[in-house]
């Protein structure tokens, strides 16, 4: 940390909800210095704590989930049962303290709990309240609840993945949740900027389905303007050929592409087959696209006996775009990600050492960090309620007796 402190130092964020879409926003804010409090209820903890592997040593446990911890590093965790006496009031007190509230429940649920924006802004008019859900807060299907992995199908991504004419394919996890988190986060910080100027708070209604459209914006333009419907087509590109994944030794793969004749000539030479570039089937991009199957087979035969690392070194050395198809394991040894310190290992009381993802942008003066492992359930009740909110010991004990924590 530099003398200037972190960029988001002093920003107070609370999260209601769980899983990925909301917590990912909080994680990124926390990595750049915000104080982020993840709120759960003891009888309804974040679903990622108990619903998905991996668990430490394969043993399920409320504080053993690597899935939960991956999305919640650098945060504080508290528990509030809003149905117990004083619980709702405590949640209100926390929202009065906060600059930002992020919630990702089904549309309307937070209002029913009594923590809706209209209610909270009465006592905290500067609050920036971001709601993110599948369909948004309004519209005929607003009430739809659902998982991001399935919403990624509705939003077009699964249909755009797979062989032409074959089955759509899964993308790992709730792809669209992270899309929505990234589109939503700048809005929070822009709303804060307005608040600095005007004092006004905001309610930001983010529909994950709509955010997905931004990641396919050119396709929608092409459809609306020209009626064109782009469908899944394996690794085919409308311009580049070759453009594919090629098998290597030891079940590794590389991705490689040529965007012009010069690149293809260099690939052919690097492969020891300069005659490919003279073959009349492959002499121009159109020919290479038309005969891509034959070309891919030739390239695949060349790559099959070699390691991915050797191949990409050869191709990059020749000025041809190529990269190993990194598996999750490879991501931890990738020299470039290592250089950027993408993985930050932190020690967790129950999980022990875990590698946390640091976002894809580095700030030169206020670089941010993974400041702590993910919190245990209810880990920070004392700290947050007593020190941050200033509850007296009496008040705290009373709430504890009421079962609020």
């Amino acid at each position: 940390m530099t003398a200037m402190g972190q960029a988001l130092k002093g920003l107070k964020v609370i999260e209601v909800g769980g899983y990925a879409a909301g917590p990912w926003i909080g994680k990124v804010l926390a990595n750049y210095g915000a104080t982020v409090i993840h709120i759960e209820a003891r009888d309804r903890p974040d679903g990622f704590r108990l619903q998905y592997p991996p668990y430490k040593d394969g043993k399920k446990g409320i504080n053993r989930s690597g899935c939960f911890s991956y999305f919640n590093d650098s945060k504080y965790a508290v528990t509030i049962d809003v149905k117990k006496p004083g619980g709702l009031k405590l949640a209100r007190r926390l929202s009065d303290w906060a600059d930002v509230l992020v919630e990702n429940m089904r549309a309307g649920v937070i209002d029913r709990i009594g923590l809706g924006y209209q209610e909270l802004k009465k006592t905290n008019p500067g609050l920036i309240f971001l709601s993110t859900c599948n369909m948004g807060q309004t519209g005929p299907r607003a009430a739809t609840g659902g998982f991001g992995s399935q919403l990624s199908a509705l939003a077009g991504f699964c249909g755009l993945t797979g062989e032409a004419g074959g089955s759509p394919q899964l993308l790992y996890g709730p792809y669209i949740d992270f899309v929505a988190a990234l589109v939503g986060t700048p809005l929070i910080l822009a709303a804060l900027d307005r608040r600095r100027r005007t004092g006004e708070g905001s309610h930001i209604d983010v529909a994950q389905y709509e955010c997905g459209a931004f990641f396919l914006a050119g396709l929608f333009y092409d459809y609306h303007a020209n009626g064109k419907i782009v469908e899944r087509n394996a690794n085919v590109d409308p311009v580049a050929a070759p453009h594919n994944a090629y098998p290597c030794k030891d079940e590794e793969w590389i991705a490689a592409s040529c965007w012009n004749d010069g690149e293809f000539k260099r690939l052919a030479e690097a492969a020891g087959h300069p005659q490919w570039a003279k073959d009349k089937r492959f002499k121009d991009p159109g020919g290479r696209r038309e005969n891509a199957a034959a070309l891919d087979e030739l390239i695949g035969r060349w790559t099959a006996g070699q390691t991915a690392d050797a191949l990409v070194d050869t191709l990059q050395g020749a000025g041809v775009g190529a990269y190993k198809v990194n598996t999750c394991a490879d991501l931890f040894t990738d020299p470039q990600l290592t250089h950027r310190k993408t993985w930050r290992v932190r020690k967790h009381p129950e999980i022990d050492y875990q590698a946390h993802y640091f976002p894809g942008f580095d700030l030169s003066e206020q670089p941010g960090d993974v400041t702590a492992p993910a919190p245990l359930l209810a880990q920070d009740n004392q700290l947050v309620f007593r020190e941050f909110l200033g509850l007296s010991e009496e008040e705290y004990l009373e709430l504890e007796e009421n079962g609020v924590f």
Binding site: G5, Q6, P54, G66, S69, Y70, G136, G139, P140, R141, G146, Q150, A153, L154, G162, S167, P168, Q169, L170, Y172, G173, L182, V183, T185, P186, A190, D193, R194, R196, I204, D205, V206, C211, A213, F214, F215, A217, G218, L219, F220, Y221, H224, A225, N233, D237, W253, G321, A322, Y323, V325, N326, T327, C328, F332, H339, Q354, P359, G360, F361, S364
Partner: protein, 399 residues
């Protein structure tokens, strides 16, 4: 608008276009810089450069570079995608630019980041999706790794760049100083694969391509179908366990019954006893057979509506046309019809959120070549004679 009209110089190529579009949609004054004569017709260019102004400026000339430095001295943000080590990257030197303008937030968006052993490696979308781990997780288990057919590395990099730009702006509010934001598309894409890396990190299991089936849920190794053919395409539906799964499964069985479909083993099925983690493949196959037949009798639109009304989990596999005609997006005023060149309108994604009940508005249609060159240069303090000279020397193009 949320953002005061901060001025953004957007010198990006496709890797960064969406960053400027996001900043423009939340209220910044984004000035896209393109060389005179650049083609601005590609659907991707148009979609990602709406809501910006356009300055046609040749940066491959001494006079153009001098003009750029003058602009950068008075801008709040610079967004750029210059390849590390290139002449353009030397023009966009973070230290020099901030020496001239300490408030500048300079966002570099490159395939691998500005520094590091592979910073100068060449990569397009497919190499980046490979480098970020995404391709290793998409495709049939016995097939090849796949990318999403529409490039995703650009929006992943650009959206993280927009976050980085806003984090730096928040920092600037406290310190008065800008900073350099170095975005790596490869590192940005790692966010797309959720917690998959944690599986290797914690339990030594390397997740691989999942194909069209859900694996790893049954202790007997049974796989569950995810994508089901229907009358006009595919549906995404999974026989989940747990309470949410049970509710969905019961609702589907009731729907099938109402429709007079053959229920097979699902007649009087005891969903309360069903445990998806204990099912064998034979049991799963027997359950899936009648469901598969029923789905073949309905359309994607019927499934979407029926599943919504019955509060079931599951969605159809949409294509762009399905999404474009979805009444939900229409009702929320998502699409923006902007003035098109030569009259009429063209349809774009509207603002990315509804703020205080209002859809963020798109203030400007897609700009044309040179459209704002004169006004932008004048606003940055260039005199009329100076502007004319730049135009005469073909450094700047006018409308």
């Amino acid at each position: 608008m949320l953002l005061e009209p901060y001025r953004v110089l957007d010198c990006t190529g496709q890797l960064g276009w969406l960053a400027g579009r996001i900043l423009a949609d939340i209220g910044a004054d984004v000035i896209k810089i393109e060389p005179p004569g650049a083609s601005l017709d590609a659907p991707d260019w148009r979609a990602n450069n709406a809501n910006k102004r356009l300055l046609s400026l040749e940066l491959d000339s001494d006079a153009g570079r001098a003009a750029f430095l003058k602009l950068a001295a008075f801008a709040d943000f610079l967004l750029e995608t210059a390849p590390p080590g290139s002449a353009r990257a030397r023009l966009f030197d973070p230290d020099k630019l901030r020496e001239a303008n300490p408030k500048l937030i300079h966002v570099s968006i490159t395939p691998f980041g500005r520094t590091g052993p592979r910073a100068q490696w060449q990569a397009s979308d497919i190499e980046l999706m490979a480098a970020g781990g995404a391709m290793s997780l998409a495709g049939e288990p016995d097939g090849m790794p796949l990318r999403v057919t529409a490039p995703q590395s650009n929006p992943w990099a650009a959206s993280q760049a927009a976050v980085g730009a806003m984090v730096a702006l928040t920092g600037r509010a406290a310190t008065g100083r800008g900073q350099h934001v170095d975005v790596s598309a490869q590192a940005a894409i790692v966010a797309s694969i959720a917690h998959a890396p944690a599986s290797w990190d914690l339990i030594g299991v390397n997740p691989l391509r999942a194909g069209a089936f859900m694996t790893g849920r049954s202790v007997h190794g049974a796989v569950y179908r995810v994508f089901w053919p229907c009358q006009d395409g595919y549906l995404n539906f999974i026989i989940y366990g747990g309470i949410a799964g049970r509710r969905t499964n019961q609702a589907l069985a009731a729907w099938m019954d109402e429709a007079g479909a053959d229920l097979g083993v699902l007649v009087d099925f005891d969903w309360a006893k069903f445990d998806s983690t204990q099912a064998t493949q034979d049991e799963v196959d027997a359950m899936e057979a009648p469901i598969g037949e029923f789905f073949m009798s309905i359309t994607k639109a019927e499934f979407l509506q029926g599943a919504f009304e019955r509060e079931m989990l599951g969605y159809p596999v949409n294509n762009v046309a399905d999404i474009a005609h979805d009444p939900q997006l229409e009702a929320r005023g998502f699409w923006a019809d902007l003035a098109a060149p030569g009259g009429g309108t063209e349809r774009h994604c509207g603002g990315p959120a509804v703020v205080d009940g209002q859809r963020l508005s798109i203030e400007r249609p897609v700009p044309g070549p040179g459209q704002h060159s004169r006004e932008v240069l004048a606003e940055f303090g260039f005199g009329a004679a100076e502007i004319d000279a730049l135009i005469d020397d073909n450094v700047v193009a006018d409308q």
